[in-house]
């Protein structure tokens, strides 16, 4: 069955990769890409063809009016969108001057707006969303093996970055059994891309540089490449059933090694000192306290992906490793196995 897909945040790396993957999928008739910024340059060849299958629009998804306008626009109606792929924002707010907390709050607002409009729009039948696997409650230990039934971390002290992902998760979870709208939620661990881009990890995502971590803890981080995330979305777009699925690649690395490979060296600091700094930052109203301390810096996890393999037919194809770049520096690289 041919699909006509809307992709959110198509100007961010995961969104771009998703558009590219769906573009080369013969079962996708049209792609309506939306993002905060101007269309990425990599879209030029998609948009320049005679009868382009890709349309791009700038929309602020966190605000009610622009989203309403989008869903009622003639371009949207003409595209006859039946599937919405939601790739939540990376973390930064739409405005560069806005603090990090604004970006976190916008993520939840966007998901709420989008879900509401998908429920109200009669044409939209499928909603595929990326969620974070950091929503799970982590038991003390270097590695926790988690499946989709594992408990979510509903502790009120959870860092706001993770809290926003939990809010998004629960919004979508509430509609998984909706009769009309098929909702698929893909919980992904740390997403990495060639060159050191990191998505979803509460501490490592964002710009490169040094980070603090508690000394004596080096949790295992499950990984997935951006290409495999796009493949998982592609599988979910064409699958039949709704549900929540864990997706992950075959690699898992300790936090310290992952940080080094992605150009984000870590400073191991004594736990009490880190907690003190985090509390001080929170009291001072600073938003970076989430990155300073949290269960994800002490306890790691890997994901049981058998449900996604069985129901979606998703199998990770990329291997993640180190490669020497042209300038001689070692960089993280992903390649098909």
């Amino acid at each position: 069955m041919m699909r006509r897909v809307l992709v959110t945040h198509a100007d961010e790396p995961i969104g771009r990769r998703t558009v590219k993957t769906l573009y080369h999928d013969a079962r996708v008739a049209a792609i309506f890409a939306v993002g905060d910024g101007p269309p990425p340059r990599s879209f030029d060849r998609f948009l320049a063809e005679g009868a382009p299958r890709v349309t791009y629009a700038r929309v602020d998804l966190a605000r009610h009016r622009p989203v309403t306008d989008l869903f009622h626009s003639s371009a949207f109606r003409a595209a006859e969108i039946d599937t919405v792929v939601h790739v939540p924002r990376h973390g930064a707010a739409a405005s560069e001057q806005a603090p990090l907390m604004a970006g976190i709050a916008e993520r939840t607002a966007e998901t709420r707006q989008l879900l509401q409009h998908c429920l109200e729009s009669p044409a939209v039948e499928n909603l595929v969303a990326i969620g974070s696997a950091f929503v799970y409650k982590l038991a003390p230990g270097n590695v926790n093996r988690l499946d989709e039934e594992s408990e979510l971390d509903l502790d009120p002290d959870v860092p706001p970055e993770i809290r926003s992902w939990i809010d998004c998760d629960m919004l979508l979870h509430g509609e998984v059994h909706n009769d009309r709208l098929r909702v698929v939620l893909l919980r992904a661990p740390t997403v990495v891309a060639a060159g050191g881009y990191v998505y979803l990890h509460p501490t490592l995502s964002g710009r490169s540089g040094r980070r603090a971590r508690p000394a004596g803890f080096d949790p295992i981080c499950a990984l997935i490449s951006d290409k495999d995330v796009a493949r998982a979305i592609q599988c979910a777009v064409h699958a039949r059933g709704p549900g929540i699925y864990n997706i992950a690649g075959s690699e898992a690395l300790p936090l310290s090694l992952l940080a080094r490979w992605t150009g984000r060296a870590t400073w191991p600091l004594p736990g009490p000192l880190l907690s003190l700094a985090s509390t001080g930052a929170r009291l001072a109203g600073q938003s970076f306290d989430a990155a300073l301390d949290g269960p994800h810096l002490r306890y790691g996890f890997t994901l049981d992906t058998r449900r996604a393999e069985r129901d979606l037919g998703f199998h990770p194809q990329d291997r993640i490793g180190m490669a020497r770049a042209g300038d001689g520096a070692l960089r993280l690289e992903t390649a098909s196995a």
Partner: protein
């Protein structure tokens, strides 16, 4: 006047033993299996039967059935299931046998002191993560165990002078649960068991010990445990290991085993039952085993519970050497370890995965395993 309930009498006897009643008229001697010397049928089985009868009697009865008998038949109820899980695809890591492994060159100074078999075992372990990169999904690293192995191998040979028997009872392949007693302040019994299983199995098997969650909160220790193949005791971890066809080592006494004072040594504490549920669900045999010697490696004279609570520790021990010698006082005495593996118990063949949903059955089976381990301990003391 009716006869006294034999079950109640035996329960009283058992409690008398647990309360350190000296050998005599009330029951068996201190430290021996409290069940073994009791006459008559198994008290737990009888107790189960009694509970079952009481439950049946408590069901409401219809005095005058107004409908035909067939209509009174209850609709078959679906068996309760814990949580829906997708079909499992077993991913048993197949290691090469010792004969198939090319003897690697010694990579460091200490490798020269390892025997050929030990070096082959280490080479075999590297195949455990062959398809997954430097770490497996539980954080196990062959590189770390290669560095740690010589130290623990020296302890195995020189300090604890381990003697072991019954290796044929450990399955060569497939999932299995090793159930052992636990004692000693530092878990050298676990380390020696892992070494012993590795050295006496072909193809070599890495026993994945299930460790208490508290261990996961200790800086550096949590990382070392994970890199050496130990796994935090969560339901998902346990299930995944068994579904992978791995050999899992559990200590159902939990932290209570470590808290045992010298008066309770070689007397098993009550068993937790989670391992029975997992073994039934994953159709894994249970191999009872005993480690004799660990109770003597650091005898706890007194456990200062208040201090332990203040410090957030599971135990605050006073031993003949601790705290008098500082941290050195925690080191184990050079006692000889005797490890014995018992006959495997194939509960899953009789009760099936659905047996895991019956809490009374699970409790009963856990006590059966406890009795088997206690018997092995008594035999080797």
């Amino acid at each position: 006047m009716s006869e006294p309930d034999p079950i109640e009498t035996r329960v009283w006897d058992t409690e008398a033993v647990l309360a350190d009643t000296p050998a005599g008229e009330h029951g068996p001697a201190l430290g021996s299996d409290p069940f073994a010397e009791l006459p008559g049928p198994d008290p737990l089985a009888a107790r189960l039967e009694l509970l079952d009868r009481a439950w049946r009697n408590a069901q409401p009865r219809r005095a005058t059935p107004k409908a035909p008998l067939t209509a009174l038949k209850r609709e078959p109820q679906p068996a309760p299931v814990a949580r829906p899980r997708p079909a499992l695809k077993r991913r048993t890591p197949v290691l090469p046998t010792l004969g198939e492994i090319e003897l690697p060159e010694p990579q460091g100074f200490v490798d020269h002191f390892l025997g050929e078999d030990a070096r082959r075992v280490l080479a075999a372990f590297s195949h455990l993560v062959e398809a997954e990169g430097p770490y497996d999904r539980f954080g196990f690293s062959p590189d770390v165990i290669r560095r740690a192995f010589p130290f623990f191998h020296a302890l195995y040979r020189g300090w604890f002078r381990v003697q072991s028997e019954g290796h044929a009872n450990v399955p060569e392949t497939g999932p299995a649960v090793l159930v052992s007693n636990h004692a000693g302040l530092l878990p050298f019994d676990g380390a020696m068991t892992v070494i012993d299983v590795a050295l006496h199995s072909d193809p070599p098997r890495l026993a994945r010990a299930i460790v208490d969650r508290w261990a996961g909160t200790i800086p550096w220790v949590n990382v070392f445990y994970a890199r050496c193949g130990q796994v935090i005791g969560t339901r998902e971890n346990f299930t995944e290991l068994l579904d992978d066809g791995q050999l899992v080592l559990v200590y159902p006494e939990g932290i209570e085993g470590v808290r045992k004072t010298i008066a309770q040594r070689y007397r098993l504490q009550p068993f937790r039952v989670g391992f029975i549920e997992q073994a039934l669900r994953s159709k894994a045999p249970i191999v009872p085993m005993a480690v004799v010697g660990s109770d003597d490696q650091a005898p706890v004279l007194y456990n200062v519970k208040t201090l332990a609570r203040w410090l957030g520790l599971p135990v605050a021990p006073i031993t003949p050497t601790f705290p008098w010698l500082g941290p050195l006082g925690l080191l184990p005495y050079p006692v000889r370890y005797r490890i014995v593996y018992g006959e495997p118990l194939h509960f899953h063949e009789r009760f099936g995965p659905e047996g895991a949903e019956d809490t009374r059955l699970v409790r009963y089976l856990a006590n059966q395993v406890r009795r088997a381990v206690q018997r092995l301990i008594d035999r080797k003391r």
